[in-house]
């Protein structure tokens, strides 16, 4: 028998599941007639389904290990698509055309959620510098987002400064906060770093919530101006479209800058830091500087996203900057594949848009969303797109780089 061990394992799993679900699936207490109903048919169903599913899964796994494929074929179909210019160029053109046409065909509501998704793309790409490249697990990323949003709201409220002045100012302030957090956590790694950054974000949120004189407390700041367009008065719909294109432009800028950083001396230093901190220092990389630049540059994009968020919603309060947001952004990075720009973009779109479009399913939407996340982690534990290294082609002795 070829699949004897698999059959045996599936039987064990089925039996285990039967035992586990026995109390809820079989015993039913009928309180009206005071009798216990034994629903034996249910358990047969559970057993059969578990057995069949687990057997199919194991055969699939068995087949996979039996036929080793060449390395390129190991990449999922989608990633092979990305590697071939003949295929991805038309795709890029299609995406660009869609992005251009979208705001003129979609409803106001649609444009708004797409804008939100674009903000999350920026956030995801920014956090990707810290977590994906430099390996610094930051659970308090939302703090920098809040710094950006509040710098716009407060500096505008008190000094009447405009959006275009405060966009870089918010980014710089967030970068400054990034360095501020970076310093005390330089010696920390992994879990410890995660806890400290989480605490930092909570401190900031509590300060914003309680220091009424500074931040107007939980009631927040309203009537934040939308970005201006050469003094032209825009209707609500028009300004949503304007915001959308602004976000598209800034997303493109983010992608460009982060791509360049990733493939530079500094980007390599970050990855080396992630891979082995000690060896990285022994190669002459200043750990302090590498970590601080990662924090500062990661925070910059959060700050910018924060300014845009404040300008888009025209109202902010501390409730927008809870740990849930940090977790969401981290989920985008992990789901997309640590260190992969395309992966992060897809994941941001999926995580923000899916729950919106699943609203038709009513109460089941979050359940389905959770199931999708778990499924992802089971089938593609390294994220949607596994970042691949750049390959170099050399002619022996006279080496030419063709990236």
């Amino acid at each position: 028998m070829k699949y004897a061990p698999e059959l045996k394992r599936s039987a064990t799993i089925a039996l285990w599941l039967i035992l586990l679900t026995f109390p809820i699936m079989v015993i039913q207490v009928n309180t009206i007639e005071n009798i216990v109903v034994w629903r034996w048919m249910n358990i047969a169903g559970v057993g059969t389904v578990a057995f069949v599913l687990s057997f199919l899964w194991q055969i699939y796994q068995h087949r996979k290990t039996e036929s080793p494929l060449p390395v390129s074929a190991h990449l999922p179909a989608f990633q092979r698509l990305l590697a071939d210019p003949k295929l991805y160029r038309p795709m890029l053109i299609f995406i660009a055309a869609f992005a251009l046409v979208f705001p003129f065909t979609a409803s106001h509501y649609q444009i708004n959620i797409m804008s939100t998704a674009l903000i999350y793309i920026m956030l995801g790409l920014g956090l990707n510098i810290e977590v994906g490249l430099a390996g610094l697990l930051d659970l308090g990323y939302v703090a920098f987002y809040a710094v950006g949003a509040y710098s716009y709201a407060l500096l505008n409220y008190h000094f009447g400064l405009g959006f275009w002045t405060l966009l870089p100012a918010g980014a710089l302030l967030a970068a400054f906060f990034g360095i501020l957090v970076g310093f005390p956590v330089l010696r920390l790694r992994g879990d410890y770093l995660a806890i400290v950054t989480l605490a930092f974000a909570e401190i900031l949120r509590l300060v914003l919530e309680n220091w009424n004189a500074l931040s107007f407390g939980p009631s927040g700041i309203s009537n934040i101006p939308r970005p201006g367009l050469f003094g032209i008065e825009l209707t609500l719909e028009q300004s949503a479209v304007y915001m959308y294109f602004l976000l598209i432009a800034l997303c493109l800028l983010t992608i460009f800058v982060i791509y360049r950083l990733q493939h530079s001396r500094i980007g390599r230093a970050w990855v080396a830091l992630r891979e082995d901190e000690l060896a990285c220092q022994a190669m002459g990389i200043d750990k302090t500087r590498a970590k601080l630049t990662a924090f500062a540059l990661g925070a910059t994009w959060a700050g910018m996203a924060g300014v845009l968020f404040a300008a888009k919603t025209t109202f902010i309060n501390p409730a927008s900057f809870t740990f849930m947001e940090s977790a969401m952004i981290l989920a985008i990075v992990v789901l997309g594949g640590m260190g992969s720009i395309v992966g992060v973009i897809i994941a941001a779109l999926a995580i923000i848009l899916l729950p919106e479009y699943l609203r038709v399913l009513g109460d089941y939407r979050m359940l389905l969303f959770g199931a999708a996340l778990i499924g992802m982690m089971v089938f593609r534990p390294r994220g949607l797109i596994t970042p691949s290294s750049r390959t170099y082609v050399f002619q022996p002795s006279e080496h030419q780089e063709r990236t």
Binding site: S264, A279, A282, M283, T391
Partner: protein, 265 residues
Amino acid sequence: MDLILDIKNLTMNFGGLKALDGVNLHIRQGEIAALIGPNGAGKTTLFNCLTGIYAPSSGDILLYQPGAKPKRLNGLKINTITSLGVARTFQNIRLFGGMTVLENVMIGRHARSKSGILGAIFRPPATRVEEKAIVDKSYAILEYIDLAPYVNELAKNLPYGAQRRLEIARALATEPRLLLLDEPAAGMNPQETRELEGLLVRLQADHELSILLIEHDMKLVMNLARNIFVLDYGEEIARGTPLEIRHNPAVIKAYLGEEADAEIG
């Protein structure tokens, strides 16, 4: 010949434990020296003091530089010491496993290149030239060390011997004047060890590199080193040429115990 490294009275305490106790050691320019001793003798601790991973409790580590006063390395940061021209490999291989072989060597060029954040974003001609130089130099090192066929391979997928050589390649990329090798032949088969021996001889000859080697393979040590230092329980128990060390009773005792009167090597 001129000295490149002079260690005087180096002591390293961990709480009550004296891992190094008044060790003296010196290496001449362009010389291969070896540091041997039983397990736990303090050899790797000495390397860690030398490369800035530990700050020594007392003593001096002096690195001689051409045309300048000797530099005291005590308590300097790890990357500063690398920039001064001291590179090392690790006993338990510490490559950047998720990066390609070429990228591993390119990281080694970090200390010898300087483009920053703005350079990365705007990529001006200076950065482009530097980046190309990094790639070319790294590839040249890989060719020199016979790792060129693996260039785009992930470092973690390399065979064991090649990983050890990649560690050396990566260290070479930092342009060291003094190379510290921590058990480079550990886990290698006799064939690979012979190749390593040839490589080290070549390195020393081509680059006038000074090499300090920790190694348990006595044959390799005796063939390569002009000068051998023996540590035991953090103290230096002998020093000298391979021939002297081979017949030194203290060394034989440290390696083989009280009774033995065999010779090593």
